[in-house]
């Protein structure tokens, strides 16, 4: 695989999340677009590539957005991969810039949330789901991920406390970052005594649907330097869909099939990662990513989280340093961008209240799209601090 030389990721931008919004996904997308231009010192017509991931933009699409934003790009991409969309957007936009198909690509994940959007979304998520999964209690993804979680616990000996460790560390990170919907500390007692949602999942294992948007710009290093923008390099990237389809219950994902290639390409190993941003729709999924991305052995994540601090300043493996979706809420497809945007932020900005000291390299991974009894899409990127 060719290296991603001379590609820069800049202006990681997050809109504050809202529990509910009257505004449309187009507004959230447009607001983050305007915010990125402002920070980059660019005019909107400088943007000639646009990649969007959204569940609630319909009946509009990335095409409609060109008219609403009144821009005329030569490169468009809509990424229907939900939680995997951030690393995928970075990967595709990087190749477009590298090949010269686009000069500057805006990558945006954004969604709104009203009383009905979440219900409508889970009801119509896929044909397999509406035929053969959703009718059973209409619990949405909680139902299948509860069964995935129980299977994982029985297969590998994970306990509820292990999931609690992931959630509690993320809440500490969220409090340091100061941006999350949940802004109270979480104790193990709070975690364990929370009301059951779909056992073994309880309240703090589940993300709250919110409205919001996340984005970043992709351009050449020369352009980023001319604009005097701090940037992150993309050192390696991968995606894999419908991997391990013969597994009767989901316990491993596509990451395990391309992580070696990514580490080889980046000339780095998991031990070189100064942080890890996983897709945390449920804590078990973050633990599966820790395993499949090589941070511990398969089945070893429970032991890993018992012994390694996951907080931003704990000296272990800083994990989901802005608090992740478990603290910030899940802003639809923006949830698939949250980790990538936070990774770029950690590598480009200074003076963050949750800054991982001396962070030079980090990984962000994605996971998305329940079709029947698991998510099908996986993705990951390894990023490095620009100029090194």
């Amino acid at each position: 695989m060719q290296p991603y030389n001379d590609v820069a990721l800049v202006v990681p931008t997050s809109l504050p999340y809202e529990r509910r919004s009257e505004r449309s996904a187009a507004w959230f997308t447009g607001a983050v677009f305007a915010g990125m231009l402002d920070r980059a010192g660019l005019e909107k017509h400088d943007i000639d590539g646009l990649a969007i991931a959204s569940f609630t933009l319909a009946p509009d699409s990335v095409v409609s957005m060109t008219e609403y934003l009144d821009i005329s790009p030569g490169w468009l991409e809509q990424i229907p991969m939900g939680g995997a969309s951030g690393p995928v957007a970075a990967r595709r936009a990087a190749r477009a810039v590298q090949a010269g198909d686009a000069d500057i690509v805006a990558c945006i994940g954004g969604d709104t949330a009203s009383a009905d959007t979440f219900t409508d979304l889970v009801r119509n998520f896929s044909r397999f789901s509406s035929d053969a999964a959703f009718p059973y209690g209409a619990g949405g993804p909680n139902t299948v991920f509860a069964m995935i979680t129980r299977h994982y616990m029985e297969k590998y000996g994970a306990e509820r406390e292990d999931f609690g460790r992931v959630c509690i560390a993320q809440r500490e990170n969220a409090l340091a970052a100061g941006t999350a919907v949940f802004n109270k500390p979480l104790s193990m007692e709070d975690y364990l005594s929370a009301r059951p949602i779909s056992e073994p999942l309880h309240l703090f294992d589940c993300v709250m649907p919110v409205a919001g948007a996340e984005g970043f710009l992709v351009m050449t290093v020369a352009r980023a330097e001319a604009l005097q923008l701090p940037y992150a390099h993309i050192l390696a990237a991968g995606e894999r869909h419908n991997a391990w389809s013969d597994d009767d219950v989901h316990f491993r994902g596509g990451w395990s099939l391309y992580r070696e290639q990514m580490y080889e390409q980046a000339e780095l190993g998991p031990g070189d990662m100064d942080f890890l941003q996983t897709y945390d729709d449920y804590p078990v999924i973050s633990m599966i990513q820790m395993e499949d991305l090589g941070f511990c052995e398969k089945g070893g994540a429970a032991e890993f989280v018992r012994t390694r601090p996951l907080t931003w300043n704990g000296g272990g493996l800083p994990h989901n340093t802005c608090g992740g979706q478990l603290s910030a809420g899940q802003a639809g497809a923006a949830g698939g961008f949250l980790g990538t945007v936070e990774a770029i932020r950690q590598l480009t900005e200074t003076g963050l209240s949750n800054q991982v000291a001396g962070a030079r390299h980090g990984m962000a991974s994605g996971y998305g799209m329940v079709n029947y009894d698991r998510c099908l899409c996986t993705s990951a990127v390894i990023l490095g601090r620009g100029g090194e």
Binding site: F118, T119, V122, R123, N124, R127, F128, S130, D131, A132, A133, F134, P135, Y136, G137, A138, G139, G140, N142, T143, V144, A146, M147, I148, R150, H151, E154, R195, P196, I197, S198, E199, P200, L201, D248, V249, Y372, D373
Partner: protein, 153 residues
């Protein structure tokens, strides 16, 4: 809210075959005429050999529980006075993995179960897993269609 007084009713066109089998009291699933794969959920071609000639045939309804949950939250008003609701992931001996309602006596990984299709109150068939010699809907009388229960007597 409309649609919330019954369980979710939207299904694909192929689901009619599942409904017909359930109405006849039979356990029929899609079988590939070329490679014999038993396929569930239904789709328009075989995911293994891509053959689009699939028949609906009686297959073994026996299987074992792979995992389960006790659900206590729903996006549908219909279920809100019916919690907790036991739902399982069942591996059929003939191959497919099914999401089913699960009898309270089968809340153990590895439990042997028999799967039965019945109409729920939306009029669409859903599947129930229970011990082979037991009434499959004994724990789910508030979910299955009344008429179905009367026919059984």
């Amino acid at each position: 809210m409309t649609g919330n007084t019954i369980p979710p009713a939207a299904r694909s066109r192929l689901w009619q075959q599942v409904n017909e089998a359930a109405a006849e009291g039979l356990f029929r699933l899609q079988v590939c005429t070329r490679c014999d794969k038993v396929q569930y959920p239904p789709q328009e071609f075989c995911s293994r050999c891509l053959c689009d000639e699939l028949s609906w045939e009686a297959v073994s309804p026996m299987g074992k529980v792979l995992s389960w949950t006790r659900s206590r939250a729903s996006t549908s008003e219909f279920f809100r006075d019916k919690f907790p609701l036991n739902i399982g992931l069942v591996k059929l001996d003939c191959g497919p993995v099914m999401v089913t309602y699960l009898a309270a006596s089968c809340l153990h990984t590895g439990s042997r179960v028999q799967v039965t299709g019945k109409q729920d109150k939306s009029g669409q068939a859903v599947f129930f897993a229970a011990p082979p010699d037991k009434d499959p809907v004994a724990d789910f009388n508030n979910i299955v269609m009344e008429e179905v229960k009367h026919e059984r007597k």
